[in-house]
């Protein structure tokens, strides 16, 4: 083969430009300031990572679409307030006196009306035997079964205690608890009314008022917590993936041969995801406020500021994961190890105060616990910096710890 060159450009110009480059090679380091910069390489990594992110439709979906869907599910579809619980009634009290098509006695019907008007119970069926009553419960068609015994009227007339049996399906604990409370309250109230002379008020009148969330709206409670959980994906998982992907492709090795410094590499990787997390958070806040009518009682800027501490902690954790994991699968599993406690041990779903002491203790090591305090505190209770700074401090301490460990792991790799 004759004179086959790698290039199609004229030989002269090629040689010229190359020797020019070779002459400059020894002075390739641009400036002293640049070469002493501990964040060296930050700009380049940031530039490249932003492009990756823009073209990664999965990441964008995770950050912007998933939150909306989850908010719709949790904000609109789920209502933890117990209403219109399906109730089956077996009223024995009227059977002896009336024809079969007339259910119950006068006083039993009055009692059942109280149940009906409470908004908690929805009587959908009357049955005529214990068996049927039990069957409705077993089949799951009824959550509550009321049985009024045959001597209900007689006992009341004699001025003796008339019993009413309330069966509650315990397989759903929140429904069970709330229906029992309402049933007891109705019983108590009805008893008082019969005992007190006409026109007399009870001695003590309890007037409860639920602060911060007066209507007990579920979105008010769930969405500030959901925001905390949603921010996890972008901060922890996507950052972890971004480095592990480079390990898998072999580009990380290539980066280590360039003069990039560990801090420059890490910050360049973190910042685009930090930006994405901020956009995600603003979007969630806007949705929460305007689509779900969750009031914002506190200072939004304070919330954003403290949320940055939370993001920092999780971005650092993402870095730490990626410094250890060698495949995206491994990174995924390790991320899950952070996400599950964040959902279950942060007070997001289950109140921390009721947990066994060991889990209660563990919740202190879950960053989401602190963010949960911050977001519910500011959004619902209008808490200020003086109430919440300790949470932010805890987050910063954890974040710095994770970042230090991650930097140490990367130093081992880069030299």
């Amino acid at each position: 083969m004759t004179q086959s060159t790698f290039v199609e450009t004229p030989r002269e110009s090629l040689v010229g430009s190359q020797s020019d480059a070779a002459r400059k090679a020894s002075g390739a380091a641009p400036s002293v300031a640049w070469s002493n910069n501990p964040f060296r390489g930050f700009r380049a990594i940031f530039y490249k990572e932003s492009i990756h992110l823009r073209r990664d439709s999965m990441a964008i979906m995770f950050a912007l679409l998933v939150p909306i869907v989850e908010m719709i599910i949790l904000g609109a579809a789920i209502d933890t307030n117990v209403r219109q619980v399906r109730t089956v009634v077996y009223d024995e009290s009227g059977l002896m006196e009336h024809a079969r098509d007339v259910e119950g006695s006068q006083s039993s019907r009055a009692l059942l009306d109280r149940f009906r008007s409470s908004d908690t119970f929805k009587i959908y069926k009357y049955v005529n035997s214990d068996d049927e009553l039990t069957h409705e419960m077993v089949a799951g068609r009824a959550k509550v079964g009321l049985k009024i015994p045959y001597d209900f009227d007689r006992q009341l007339l004699r001025g003796q205690s008339a019993q009413v049996m309330v069966l509650v399906d315990g397989s759903d604990s929140s429904v069970a608890g709330q229906t029992l409370n309402v049933a007891s309250a109705i019983g108590l109230d009805e008893s008082l009314r019969r005992m007190l002379p006409e026109g007399k008020q009870p001695a003590i009148d309890i007037r409860p008022k639920i602060m911060f969330n007066p209507d007990s709206r579920s979105p008010n409670f769930f969405l500030p917590g959901l925001m905390t959980v949603l921010l996890l994906f972008v901060t922890t998982m996507l950052t972890a993936f971004s480095i592990v992907r480079e390990k898998e492709r072999g580009t990380l090795e290539q980066l280590f041969v360039t003069p990039v410094r560990p801090l420059g590499l890490m910050m360049g990787k973190i910042m685009p995801y930090f930006g994405l997390a901020m956009i995600e958070m603003l979007m969630i806040l806007a949705f929460m406020r305007f689509a779900f009518q969750v009031p914002m009682h506190g200072n939004v800027l304070l919330l954003l500021l403290l949320a940055m501490c939370y993001m920092f902690t999780h971005l650092s954790l993402g870095m730490l994961i990626s410094s250890k994991a060698n495949s995206q699968n491994e990174a995924m599993q390790r991320s899950m190890g952070i996400m599950l406690p964040s959902i279950f041990l942060s007070g997001y779903i289950f109140p921390l105060d009721n947990m066994p002491w060991i889990f209660y203790l563990m919740s202190f090591f879950v960053p989401a616990t602190y963010m949960m305090q911050i977001s519910r505190g500011i959004i619902l209770r209008a808490a200020g910096f003086q109430d919440l700074w300790i949470n932010a401090a805890a987050l910063l301490v954890m974040g710095l710890g994770a970042l230090t460990l991650a930097a140490r792991n990367f130093k081992k790799m880069i030299v």
């Binding site: 070779a22 090679a25 020894s26 490249k48 492009i51 990756h52 072999g250 030299v415």
Partner: protein, 320 residues
Amino acid sequence: MPAIVAENLVRKFGEFTAVDGVSFTVQSGEVFGFLGPNGSGKTTVIKMLTGILPLTAGRGMVDGIDVSVDPDSVKQRIGYMSQKFSLYDDLTVLENLRFYAHIYGLRGKDADRKIEETMQRNAIEPYKTRLAGKLSGGWKQRLALGCAMMHGPKILFLDEPTAGIDPVARRKLWDLLFELSGQGITFFVTTHYMDEAERCSHLAYIYYGKLIADGTPDTLRQIPDVSPAGTHRFEIVTRDVTTALRRARTLPFMRSATIFGRSIHALMDDTISESELQSELDKVGVHADEIRPLMPDLEDVFVELTYRRQAELEGSRASA
């Protein structure tokens, strides 16, 4: 000043010694071929010389700088291209180049000029808006080389640069390497291809962490171990090479024999002439279509050295 000096490089991973006292010198402008089987320590040596992996013992000087003392300066002066052409598939050609320009600290007009130059030199300008992942192997390799040379390094480390590339692209890459080496750029290249090894101006062969050959292709061919005194080499062309090999190896004067395509390369006592060999082969039932004297080629050299080293290792293990 030599471009690369390795003095007694040692690298241990726990108990395992991956690189065991390797020394060599690469002069400026040489195309240095670094050969050896997979897992023999080639990549480890590259990592030590490029400042990624600390040395357990020894000294590595690259462009006059001690890698253990100032790995940062070394990184600024060298280019590195790994066997996977570590490009970002979801970035375009231009974006890949811009990234490498930035990472080597080139800014603004300087960066633009270097990027333009690199695209011209590697003829990748027409593809500048194409995603790197959509390029074919040969173009990827040009782009990767362009990225590695963006900052004008004088020394380039290429780890199996032609693995998985078609023969035409391979040939073109080597032509470019020689052109650049003519301008004073030094290349440290690992490869498994013997035809590429033949083209290097300087070769070294590493086997299980030890350097067992170092020199020009010609000096390696004349190593006494490869062509011991009192022996010579013939190429035997025959039909059924596998049977022929088995039978030829039974001959008492035969030192070693290996199949090369449709022929056998055989090393034997020089008391045997061409015609004697012919009749001896006939006796064991091998019909040689042709027999001709042979200079050892590089593959012979490396195979021979590997066998010898293996025998040594087994000997020392047996005595231990």
